[in-house]
Symmetry: C2
Subunit: 130 residues, 2 copies
Amino acid sequence: MNRIETEHRDLFAIADLAKEFGITARAIRFYESKGLITPERVGATRVFRRRDRARLMLILRGKRLGFSLKDIAEYLSLYDAQSQHAQVNLLLAKVETRLARLERQQADLATTIAELREIRRLATDRLEPR
Amino acid sequence: MNRIETEHRDLFAIADLAKEFGITARAIRFYESKGLITPERVGATRVFRRRDRARLMLILRGKRLGFSLKDIAEYLSLYDAQSQHAQVNLLLAKVETRLARLERQQADLATTIAELREIRRLATDRLEPR
DNA sequence: TACCAAGTTGACGTATAGGTAAACTTGACG
DNA sequence: CGTCAAGTTTACCTATACGTCAACTTGGTA
């Protein structure tokens, strides 16, 4: 299966997604048990569509950013609420909260990256004096 | 105790730092048990210097960035190794690894913040049409 | 038809990061 | 001297995020 085929496909098995994202099938089932994704079933077998795949990407990105699955569930609901209707004010409040945290994180990141680059510079200088 | 006093002081009790950083004394003791900080003792009582306070700041920043305490321990060792001497190449490898992760995180962050701002815009529009 | 690969559920185990409670010590103060 | 605040250790408890295993079903293939 090549990239083009993957992009065109509409149905995925649990192993397809596990392989594509480098996680285990067990993890995907776990996310479903927490309500983060809701694949269809054909008999007992899970069948994933592109929507589930997209959600999975959002989940993994959230994890890379250090969010708990609970946080991520709420985050995903922001996307859902949007297309539905929801209590817009509540939605906005949550978005603001999350944005505030992320912006602080962004500042932390910049500082840390700068410090690490400085450490790298000092270490490199020691390797190549002059 | 005002800011100036705090800045000038050289010795801190565990409660001082806990209060200043909004964490519990238990958490600080836990970090010590993991070797992240090594306060002096006067009898059984821990006495913290500015160095410990600075490390605590690095620890908390690391946590905000989603690192495990183990990661953070290694991260702190980068600072130590620098002033000492260490195996510079190994140090550099670790710095590169960490930088790579942080830079990916930075990209994730930018994407996520943009998406949340878009969601906020859509929600705001719904509140104030026209 | 016999069997393998892939899927499923459920139970149990593990690592991380502390919180909570008990029981004790110590220094300062009225 | 009594006691109160603040500190200490030890032990046990909790939540999160899966991994591992057992036991079973099912669809396709030799």
